[in-house]
Amino acid sequence: MFLDELLQAFFNFVHPALRRIRPKPPNGRPPRAAKGVRSLEWKRKDLLGLEGLSAEEIHLILDTAESCKQIYEREIKKFPTLRGRTVVNLFYEPSTRTRTSFELAGKWMGADVINVSSSTSSVAKGESLRDTARTLEALGADVVVIRHSAAGAAHQLASEVRAAVINAGDGAHEHPTQGLLDLYTIRERKGRFAGLRVTIVGDILHSRVARSNIWGLRTLGAEVTVVGPPTLVPREITQLGVRATHDLEEALAGADVVNILRIQLERQKKGLFPSLREYARLYGITAEKLESAGEDVLIMHPGPANLGVEVSEEVARDPRSAISGQVQNGVAVRMALLYLLTGGRAQDAVLG
């Protein structure tokens, strides 16, 4: 009975958006099918999710990010690439690292970056998403980065504006830039995806990070296991091609990568698990529980971590943990996306 209600809630939360998106991906023409070689051109207007991106497109983003990451080795962290372009960060939900890393990425690429947050803007006066979008368009935004609590918000915005739209998290649906930086981190540390065993631990039900990771990892050929308390692992998740379990020990055995999700205290309806202490005891990742995983297991966490709840401090500081490296990779991935989404349009030019 209780479970049925939960499933219903999950469907209402995530599914309407998915159903609307699935038949016709609104983000532009599908890419040219690559014959053995990587397709080297980005064709989409927006980045709304990892669902539907091809392996070639994902690798193009990651390759570009690898070049962009070199900026960390430089004394002068500035490229002139996006000079004269305007990037608007439109955040209807709080965020530190996503917003600041978009801001840094934009500024390091030479763009002007404006931050709009719901509490200090006309949103607080009740302006609708559509009207806000029109205003941003009229102001001359080239890229709009949006975070919203409603699944599908980025898709709606993308159909309203000419500017490129980047989804920075929509409800419990997708968080593609986090997914991409996780993929980048895995590729950087493991060098491959095919056959890689990735375990995602925690609140799968509310996690847009989990969903973006699953779509990306499945496209690239990794094997994904999700694990968490029965109330936080919806049965439908297996339709995305992943294995679901409630047994942490089994899920960690032989894992190459463990991605630990944050317990989203702000999204937590009461009663999904008895207490944080019990969650920590059963599903919190400690050094002891990690012993059954591969010796060179890669530990990731999208942050901000609740230390002592979903991950112990010891594990977070472990050399096998990529948690601080993930933040740098996040800036690189976002620089790559800003470059790709503002790219060439007209017809002629020969450079020599």
Binding site: L40, E41, W42, L60, D63, T64, E66, S67, C68, Q70, R74, E75, I76, K78, F79, P80, T81, M109, A336, Y339, L340, T342, G343, G344, R345, A346, Q347, D348, A349, V350, L351, G352
Partner: protein, 184 residues
């Protein structure tokens, strides 16, 4: 980089001619810099990089000194990103030495409008403050749009705007030659 179909017109340079041109440029670099102290070679991706490596090899044969060689990707510094049809792929810049105080020789295959060189100068200066920057190219085909002039030239080739110069190198294309093509 070019769009549209090309018709091959004439071979401007064969492998032998290319070898001789690079040997001459190597001598000129040594002469102009009165030796090779502080000289570093930086190839502009893609074909400037193998050319820079070849020049370093020639200079090592002549002077017995191995010069540092780097590669520069100028994609993020281009001024035409909004107007070109195909968005270029961003590659890595690999300059494993400090450019500050160095005598940098930029190496590219063809100089045409000068805009690549302009972008390369910006990219290089963002890495530090070289003592001097010189420019070596295999082919100068004219039609400059900026006040930029190469210091070392393999061959001057007068061209029309409808022509395209293709440099092919063993390392990237399997053969050493320079071809003049016509845009159809």
């Amino acid at each position: 980089m070019e769009t549209g179909k090309l018709r091959e017109k004439i071979q401007i340079m064969d492998a032998e001619a290319m070898r001789r041109a690079l040997t001459r440029i190597a001598h000129e670099i040594i002469e102009r810099n009165k030796g090779v102290e502080k000289v570093c070679l930086v190839g502009i991706r893609t074909r400037g990089v193998p050319l820079a490596n070849r020049l370093a090899e020639r200079i090592r044969e002549i002077e017995g000194t191995s010069l540092p060689v780097g590669s520069l990707d100028i994609t993020l510094y281009r001024d035409d990103l909004t107007t070109i049809a195909h968005q270029p792929v961003v590659h890595k810049t690999e300059v494993g030495f400090s450019v500050t105080g160095a005598r940098i020789v930029l190496v590219d295959d063809v100089i045409f409008t000068g805009r690549t060189t302009r972008a390369a100068l910006d990219a290089l200066i963002d890495l530090g403050r070289p003592q001097t920057i010189q420019l070596a190219v295999l082919i100068d085909r004219g039609h400059r749009e900026l006040p930029i002039r190469p210091d070392y030239v393999g061959k001057n080739v007068p061209t029309s705007q409808r022509e395209v110069v293709s440099v092919r190198l063993g390392e990237t294309d399997g053969v050493d030659e320079v071809i003049l093509n016509e845009l159809l």
